[in-house]
C-alpha cells in the first residue's frame, strides 16, 4: 500500500522501470531559492532528459530544536519518479551535480535516493523519519542506516548535515502519513466550485475526504480556496475539505494554508 502511494508513477506495462524516491535537505540560505524549488527543478530535469515522469514534491516538517542548524524551517523535500534501471546512476549524478552547483553558500546539502524496489526494510527507514520529527539525530546514524538499507546518501557542501533530513524526508514520504504537497493542484482556470468526483480526477489527487477522514460523496460540491493542495495520508494524496460557514453556497470547502500547516 505504501509503495503504491510512494511510486504513483505507473510501471505496470514497463517492468524494467525502477521506482526511485528522491529527497533533499538543507540546500538554502536566507537569500537563495528554497529547498522546495530545488527539488522541483531536479524533478523537472529528470523529465527533461526523458528518463521518467516525476510525482509532486512533498514537504516534510522535521524537529525544530536549538541544536539543529536549520536555516529557517527544518523541512525536507521529496518526490518519486520511475526510470529505466540503467538510468539509476545518472539520476543520482544529475541530482548531486545540481546540488553542488546550485546549493547556497553556507548551506549543508544532503541527497538521498532510495530504490524502492530494492528496499527490504521500509520500517527502519520510516522509523528514522519519524524519529527526526521529535529528536536530534546525527550524521553517523544516518549514514549507518543508509548503508544497511542500500540507500544512496551523499553530502554536497558545508558540513553535510543535510543528509539527516534527506534520509528522514525519504522515510516520511514512504510512511504515507506525513507532509503536504509543494505547489498547488492544476485545476480548471476560474473554477470556484467543483464536485468531489471532479476533484478526485485531478492529476495528483487520490481521494477527497473530510479532515476527519470521512469520505465525501462524489456529487458533493466543494468551494475552492485560492490555493488547493493535498496532504499525504494513509498512503494516498488526499484533498482535505472542511464544512463551510453558515449561509455559504456550498456545504464544503477546501482547506486553507492555515488549516494545512499541521501536516
Amino acid at each position: 500500500m505504501v509503495f503504491e502511494a510512494a511510486g504513483r508513477v505507473d510501471r505496470a506495462d514497463r517492468p524494467s522501470l525502477m521506482r526511485l524516491l528522491i529527497s533533499i535537505d538543507d540546500t538554502d540560505n536566507l537569500d537563495s531559492p528554497g529547498t522546495g524549488e530545488l527539488a522541483a527543478e531536479i524533478a523537472a530535469r529528470i523529465q527533461a532528459q526523458g528518463w521518467g515522469r516525476a510525482d509532486f514534491v512533498s514537504r516534510h516538517q522535521l524537529y525544530v530544536h536549538p541544536d539543529i542548524p536549520y536555516t529557517s524551517h527544518n523541512s525536507a523535500m521529496c518526490f518519486t519518479t520511475a526510470v529505466e534501471r540503467r538510468r539509476h546512476r545518472e539520476v543520482i549524478d544529475l541530482a548531486a551535480r545540481f546540488l553542488r552547483e546550485t546549493a547556497a553558500p553556507g548551506s549543508d546539502p544532503g541527497l538521498c535516493v532510495v530504490d524502492l524496489d530494492a528496499l527490504n526494510d521500509e520500517t527502519a527507514l520510516i522509523d528514522f523519519g519519524r524519529q527526526a520529527k521529535r529528536r536530534v539525530l546525527d550524521m553517523p546514524a544516518a549514514y549507518a542506516l543508509a548503508q544497511a538499507l542500500g540507500i544512496h546518501l551523499s553530502e554536497h557542501g558545508g558540513t553535510g548535515q543535510g543528509v539527516i533530513g534527506a534520509l528522514a524526508g525519504a522515510g516520511l514520504r514512504l510512511s504515507g502519513d506525513d507532509g503536504r504537497m509543494r505547489g498547488t493542484l492544476a485545476l480548471p482556470p476560474a473554477a470556484k466550485i467543483l464536485r468531489a468526483k471532479d476533484l478526485a480526477a485531478v492529476p495528483g489527487v487520490d481521494r477527497v475526504t473530510a479532515v476527519d477522514g470521512t469520505a465525501i460523496p462524489p456529487e458533493t460540491e466543494i468551494a475552492l480556496g485560492p490555493k488547493v493542495k493535498t496532504v499525504w495520508r494513509g498512503g494516498r494524496s488526499v484533498l482535505l475539505v472542511t464544512p463551510t460557514e453558515p449561509d455559504s453556497a456550498t456545504a464544503w470547502r477546501t482547506c486553507s494554508n492555515q488549516e494545512l500547516k499541521i501536516y
Partner: protein, 70 residues
C-alpha cells in the same frame, strides 16, 4: 539598560505560531519582507511574517533573521 550580547538570542515573535492577524500586520509594515518558497507558507495572507523567508521557526514562535522584531 542591558546591551544585547553577540550570543544573545534575538527576540521571539510575541504572537506565537497562531496569531495570524498580528503576523500579517507586522509584515505589512516591514521593508525586509520576502516571501518564502510557497511550500513553506502557513498563513492565508500572502504577506505575513509566517510566510517570510526571514522567519526562523522556534519551538514556540519564530525569530526574525533580519532583526525586525527587536
Amino acid at each position: 539598560m542591558k546591551e544585547p550580547s553577540a550570543t544573545e538570542s534575538p527576540p521571539e515573535f510575541s504572537g506565537g505560531q497562531d496569531d495570524f492577524a498580528l503576523a500579517a500586520q507586522v509584515a505589512a509594515d516591514c521593508a525586509d519582507f520576502r516571501a518564502d518558497d510557497e511550500g513553506e507558507w502557513v498563513a492565508d495572507e500572502s504577506r505575513s511574517c509566517y510566510n517570510c523567508r526571514a522567519r526562523r521557526w522556534t519551538q514556540r514562535a519564530f525569530v526574525c533573521l533580519k532583526g525586525r522584531l527587536a
